[in-house]
């Protein structure tokens, strides 16, 4: 599925407005961008989200054809289709990640420094082990590589950097996926609907936590 630029930029900015749960709850969101004079270093104002953006504007995208294939294969390895929801690539997560690592903000620049070498590494590793690009591997072959890098604690020393990349890529994939309507439904979010009254937590929840 291909998204228009405006949708993916809005999605990226909206998804980025909160930091991960354990580092979160600061209640003081960091500004994403600021007004910067032409003679100053910085990344300028946020893109105008009302405009109908074309590719390469306001900032050029990064992943080419091969990069998108690798990204799609890895996204779907992390979030495949199941009985509840589709695979990550089917809801536009490849577009999302491409937008994310191409954006000029400090957090996204930092993530780019992990993601791009990681994508290069995983294709090289696929070539080394199986003589094909990662996207061309059989599912079992992809899993063989993923099993070595999906846990920072269990990864062997030679896979330390790859495990760091995998953790970051998994976070971005999950961030993209669970901020889509289908992802929200999958994870069990039932809010953002008009309520004419609010009864508090349902009785079965209160019972579970010992408050009924």
């Amino acid at each position: 599925m291909s998204m228009d630029r405006r949708t993916t930029i809005k999605w990226m900015l909206a998804a980025a407005t909160a930091v991960p749960a354990l580092r979160a709850l600061a209640y003081t969101p960091e500004p994403l961008a600021r007004d910067v004079a032409p003679n100053q270093a910085g990344y300028g104002t946020d893109p105008n989200l009302v405009k109908d953006w074309k590719g390469g504007d306001p900032w050029p995208l990064t992943l080419g054809v091969a990069g998108r294939l690798t990204t799609a294969a890895l996204c779907d390895l992390i979030i495949p289709a199941d009985d509840v929801s589709p695979a990550a690539s089917a809801v536009g997560v490849v577009d999302f990640i491409d937008e994310w690592i191409s954006a000029p903000y400090p957090q996204q620049r930092g993530d780019r420094e992990i993601i791009l070498p990681g994508l290069t590494w995983i294709d090289a590793e696929a070539q080394k082990r199986f003589g094909k690009a990662f996207a061309a591997l059989e599912p079992a072959q992809r899993s063989a590589i993923a099993d070595d890098i999906c846990s920072a604690v269990k990864a062997k020393p030679e896979f330390t950097a790859a495990a760091k990349f995998f953790a970051k890529f998994r976070d971005l994939t999950a961030g993209g996926f669970y901020t889509t309507p289908m992802g929200m439904k999958d994870i069990g979010y039932t809010g953002n609907v008009p309520l004419d009254h609010f009864d508090g937590p349902p009785p079965e929840v209160l019972k579970r936590v010992g408050l009924s």
Binding site: A21, L22, R23, A26, I79, A152, D186
Partner: protein
Amino acid sequence: MYIDRKTGAEHRVKARVVVLAASALESVRILLNSGVANSSGKVGKYIMDTVGANFGGQVPLLEDLPLHNEDGVDGLHLYTPWWLYKEQLKGSLGFARGYHFEFGGGRLMPNMGTAAGLEWLDGGTYGRKFKEDARRYYGSFVGFAGRGEMIPNEDCYAELDPTVKDKFGIPVLRFHWKWSQHELGQAEHMQKVAAEIIEAMGGRYASRPQSGEKAIKQGGVIIHEVGGAMMGNDPKKSVTNSFGQCWDVKNLFITDGATLCSNADKNPTLTIMALAWRASDHMLSLMKRKEL
């Protein structure tokens, strides 16, 4: 005098009364660059922010709960005001002043962090297992934001930067900052107490509580910057009187956070508004009496 941002042209305006409210530190910058209202030498001194430290954890009891709408349980705010007055009176805490907790969690609208960083809980998964883990842990996190009172001190001040200027050639501020043992003690205490609450809920956390030095947010991060043009009763020790009226320039009033000479643990906006209201009443009465 001001500069038109778009044309760069300088303009001069005259007024019976000038009210300065450019946000605390920008007001300080304007005063210092204008060279007015500073016979006390106190402009830029005693700047403050809120003391901040956060701590979070995960509560197994909240895993896999039946679906329900928890919009509104988080945010503005679940709130615990300061409660350890008696211990403090006994001197058993090691720091002065207090803090509050804002805490939350729940089945909030998913964001980038919702299913990120689960590795400390599930060991690092992918595929169908990862999707199951995301559902299982969703809504089971709790977070505590401690927010405390900072005591103004001599080491926290702003002054004009001798070299750096903005694009109009006007010097910017540079800052000096040092927390005292009171703020560091608060930050450490916040971490310890939050961890104890999480443990009492049967919860766990990814990393242990930190020292005050490590846990405390950098000055300015909580964006409750106040002070720098303190109000007071002594013209030698303060910039304005208790109405925000500058001692040195009678028709210059400061009505933002710059006049605050303390920074309570809660957000300063309502205090700033109340003081601005009070200053306005005073201003009007002076004008009616032709004293301005």
